[in-house]
Amino acid sequence: MAPPHPWLKPGVIAGACIPAAVIVTRATTGNLGANPITEALNRFGLCALIFLMASLALTPLKLVTGWTWTVRIRRNVGVIAFCYASVHLLTYVGVDQGFAWGTLFQDVLKRPFIAVGFLAWLILLPLAITSTDGMVKKLGFVRWKQVHRLAYVAGALGALHFYMRVKSDVREPLIYAAVLGTLLVLRVVDAIRNPKPKPKPRAAPRPEPG
């Protein structure tokens, strides 16, 4: 039987491609300002942060609204965030720095904001790899879920990376930090109010991780 809302996942994925298409089109047609490389770099990074926050918002959204569709697209949104983070990283490494590995290596070691951003990407990498149905089964849902809580750490590092990058106007990064904090509080409040019974060993994996 077809799942409910067959349009949902394809719609989200197609929609997620729109900002990338807009950025690339603008950059290649001279509509991304006088410094298109830096501009594209910043925008890909911002997209990564937005989608990461969105993926983290889906569970709290379910808790607040009772909608269940939110959790069915959660992994997709997370993978989208990883894709944008990877494009952001590749733009920096390849386009901005021209694969100057010596400088890049020094940058990661010497510059906290780059190290923080890179660490966020490193955390997202295994989460993206283990985002398939097969990997959920292989790890066992409970363990999988524990591992994937690292997404919050990646989100915090992403917001910190943004905060450390700006020269003096920290209002925008602080908004992301506030959103992340709110989401975390919602999760913690829920965990306190609805303590979960200890999971039985080898609980039957649900088809969609909740």
């Binding site: 809302h5 067959p6 349009w7 949902l8 394809p10 719609g11 989200v12 197609a14 929609g15 997620a16 491609c17 729109i18 900002p19 990338a20 807009v22 950025i23 603008r26 509509n31 991304l32 300002g33 006088a34 410094n35 490389i37 830096t38 501009e39 925008r43 911002l46 997209c47 937005i50 989608f51 901005d96 720095q97 021209g98 400088t103 020094q106 940058d107 010497k110 510059r111 906290p112 904001f113 780059i114 450390m164 990058r165 700006v166 020269k167 003096s168 106007d169 209002r171 925008e172």
Partner: protein, 346 residues
Amino acid sequence: MAKLPKEPSSSEITPESAYLRRREFIRNAALFTATATGVGGSVVLLGGAGPLGSDGGAKAPAPVVQGPAAAGPAAGNQTAESEMGTYTKNAMYRVEEKQNSFEEITSYNNFYEFGTDKTDPAKNAHTLKTKPWTIQVEGETAKPRTIGMEDIRQWFSLEERVYRMRCVEAWSMVIPWLGFPLADLIKKLEPTSKAKYVAFATLVRPEEMPGQRHSILDWPYVEGLRIDEATHPLAFMAVGLYGKELPNQNGAPIRLVTPWKYGFKGCKSIVKIRFTEKEPPTTWNLAAPSEYGFYANVNPDHDHPRWSQKTERRIGEWKRRATLPFNGYADQVASLYSGMDLHRYF
């Protein structure tokens, strides 16, 4: 005999189940489109790919250049006619590198008084009223006074200088400024022997400068130079570029240009000049003392704590280029700093 239409082959016949679900198909297609538009649109609106200020200024007409025969103070200098009157193209101060376009120079600016995005100044600076304009001269001067912009313009004939501009954020441009040497202005302002430094301040007018409605920086924006730096022949006061009046987003009506220093030293829309005995406070140094020093000389060997200063992106170029000590003006200005530890006085 009329041919009967051929019966369609069975593969062409829509299965009844699909036919019955056509409404569902249309509905799903509509919901798919709505979802995609909603997701893509909101991320674009949140700034992930959002619109840029498009009014980056009109293309400047090329100034009419007369032959070298036209009189100029130095040999090889040409003169040109423009809306700013006749001016000299100073051959001594002319970087032989591709100049950035008027569009680039006027659409990609750091001028936090009008917003922190590079495109904000071009979008917002039109509200600034630059006429009338006066500059208050105070401190260690024989003649504290307020001077009108027209007087200053009458004092000096204009010259064009093509300078590199290196931003502390590791991008750069080549800009044909129009103005006069700061040394000439300082002479007119009659500093006393106690004047060891000269400080500049930008206008504070939040109703015309929307960025000043937030305390992103301590307003007014203040900058300063040692007096020997200020009287160095490279130090320049710009009132125009590309033969046109200085656009507001570039610091109209008058701004400082010190090409061997990072761009933030170039105080814009100046309303106050103060001669001092002690080193004056400077805005970015106050905001982040470990990141921005008083001197702010371009130095590829002294990294910003958060990024390298070894290379820069020339606006309009694909590959990064090496940053030069003192932005390529070392042979002219390095002697100002002989004996100084440039890592300490960065």
